[in-house]
Amino acid sequence: MADKNLLLGDEALALGALHAGLSGVYAYPGTPSTEITEYIQLHPLARERNVHRDWSCNEKTAMEGALGMSYAGKRALVCFKHVGLNVCADPFMGSAMTGANGGLVIASCDDPSMHSSQNEQDSRFYGAFAMMPVFEPSSQQETYEMAREAFDYSEKRGIPVLMRLTTRMSHSRAVVESGADIREQNQLHYPANPRQWVTLPVNARVRNRQLIKDYQTFEADAAVSRFNFLKEGPDKSMGIIACGIAYNYLMENFPDGCPYPVLKVSQYPFPRELAVKLSGMVKTLLVLEEGQPLVEDRLKGVFPTGITVHGRLDNSVPRDGELTPDAVRAALGLPALPEYPASQVVAPRPPALCQGCGHRDFFTALNNVLKDYEGARVFGDIGCYTLGWMPPFRSLHTCVEMGASVTMALGSAYSGTYPAVAVIGDSTFTHSGMTGLLDAVNGKADVTVCISDNLTTGMTGGQDSAGTGRLEAICEGLGVEPEHIRTIVPLPKNYPDMEKVIREEIEYHGVSVIISRRECIQTLKRHAKK
């Protein structure tokens, strides 16, 4: 029986995976992907079927866990934000070489316009790089159906499938019809081709040639996929290729139907055959794609008869930032709608650390100490506390990616920076900071690593943090001297004590860890309500 629910794109993907007979979701939280895993964690079917749904330490451990589940014949889903795909690039590329046994779907949620991210990389490039099929749904309903079919496709072709969502799909709600057919889970069964799973050169060379051949099959599949179609139009002055969510912005501008021939693409490898067919009908092509110009770049110069290709590369569509109905409207040559001018009164309202947050008190104390050290540099990391760069704190000098605070502090200290201070959150520390701390211990570096521990993964809404309650033990286990693992409680009344501890550890010329620990006030409020 079909159900109708208002679902986020993330939730539609999660439900599609559950209905496909999912046995495990493996993920690390990251905007805009977090709600996929959270939806599965709270879903009764996941409980009933004992679907694996604990958070992983990072995207690499997540990807590997899912690959192990696929090896055992069961259906697994991996979820993360686009930059998580960098963290797990090694097992991701490896999974194209091993192939999939049980269906393996990798959901990577891109964030064009960087609403909550440090770059706007387009995950579709990774699909082409690994020679893996990519599914890019254009609606919430399609997201549900594609998730479901991605598992079937993965098993049919023996390859993981990369599912790419973008912010506006992940975090937009629409009515989704679901549940007409809920599949059972797979039984334990091992790969028919065991050599493929041992990527020694002798096996990998064989597999690589097979994968190159298979990639042609994937493209032929894409040409006949029901998610890709070529729609005729009376006006042949232009043809339009609309990928994923770009299709919606195109159709938004033509309420009575698009007058131009349109190729809608949601399944890759890009079906060149359909593009050639379209190019035979028209004089120019406009490529609309969310993210970076992957399709456009590949089409430039491909057609023999001098067909011009417009898109992001010639600024017909803005070169960066997410698509909007307005940007697409301009690219189509349609006049803008009449609009009110922007208000001159409005002031920017950037995000800020919450009032009462422990990170605030930590930065206040740190600043008070560091004003006495002219050469101090503070290496930041990814999380709420990155907002410590903003006024009134202005505490941080760098923020690059998960874990870089510790290791950049090392490199900078070796170059002569003193004091070299790293500031990292508890969840980021267990994600990618621990190995860097071991480097610091082995190199006897002069660094002060501050773990601002709020007992949760705060920025993404308060998910479990992998090392809660064990940070001191972890640091000691990595070889930090116990007397230089110090714990402070970040509260205004404790400023004198906090500053004393920070100063002592900066004055110690070796590896010190300061754990500044107080629960996130958002999760504290939630716990108080329960």
Binding site: H115, S172, Y247, N248, E252, T324, L337, E339, V345
Partner: protein
């Protein structure tokens, strides 16, 4: 028929509680709906908005085009102004008048109100005060929902009341009733002002 709504406010004010009630009513009535939300970093005390689109026909874009919004509904007066380029020439602004000042350069309130009042179709009301007077300070969002109900043509007020009952039923009858009271107060205010 369609209604395109921009819900605006500051992270933490709970604009999504309004969207949840409208969404429930729309689903019940078999309308098409798309609702783009903001999650993540921007939720931390920054400006937030949600694009909520309702229609009797399928909706393509998750985002509302500039000049296309039938309503801007804001829990904060300056935030209502932030999205003016999205407002249709025939569109309404329904806004709370209590400012949330968490930035050092918040503009003069006179200037904010003057610009709001220069718009041809605006309902400005102090939803915090109205909710407080009713004895349910946490019902401010429902006062604002009531205030927009008079210009939300695609859903009638009774459907929205049913939505409130569905969404809050788990919290008990008292909570449902105080939210309905808040809704009715907002509705009455906007009907008198229109």
């Amino acid at each position: 028929m369609k209604n395109d709504i921009i819900l605006a406010g500051v992270g933490g004010q709970g604009i999504l509680s309004i969207a949840t009630v409208i969404g429930s009513a729309a689903l019940e009535q078999g309308l098409y709906l798309k609702q783009a939300e903001v999650h993540g970093m921007s939720q931390r005390g920054g400006d937030v908005q949600s694009n909520l689109r309702l229609g009797t026909e399928p909706i393509h874009s998750d985002l509302i085009p500039k000049g296309g919004a039938d309503l801007i509904v804001s829990l904060e007066p300056m935030e209502a102004l932030r999205y003016l380029p999205y407002l249709s020439k025939d569109g309404w602004v329904i806004t709370n008048t209590t400012p949330l000042v968490n930035i050092p350069d918040y503009p003069q309130m006179d200037a904010v109100m003057a610009e709001l009042n220069s718009l041809p179709r605006v309902v400005a009301l102090d939803v915090d005060a109205i909710a407080k007077d009713l004895g349910s300070p946490r019902g401010a969002n429902m006062v604002l929902l009531g205030a927009m109900a008079s210009v939300l043509h695609i859903l009638d007020a009774e459907k929205l009341r049913e939505g409130i009952r569905r969404i809050f039923s788990r919290k008990g009858d008292a909570v449902v009733e105080s939210n309905i009271k808040a809704f009715d107060a907002g509705l009455a205010f906007s009907q008198n002002r229109k």
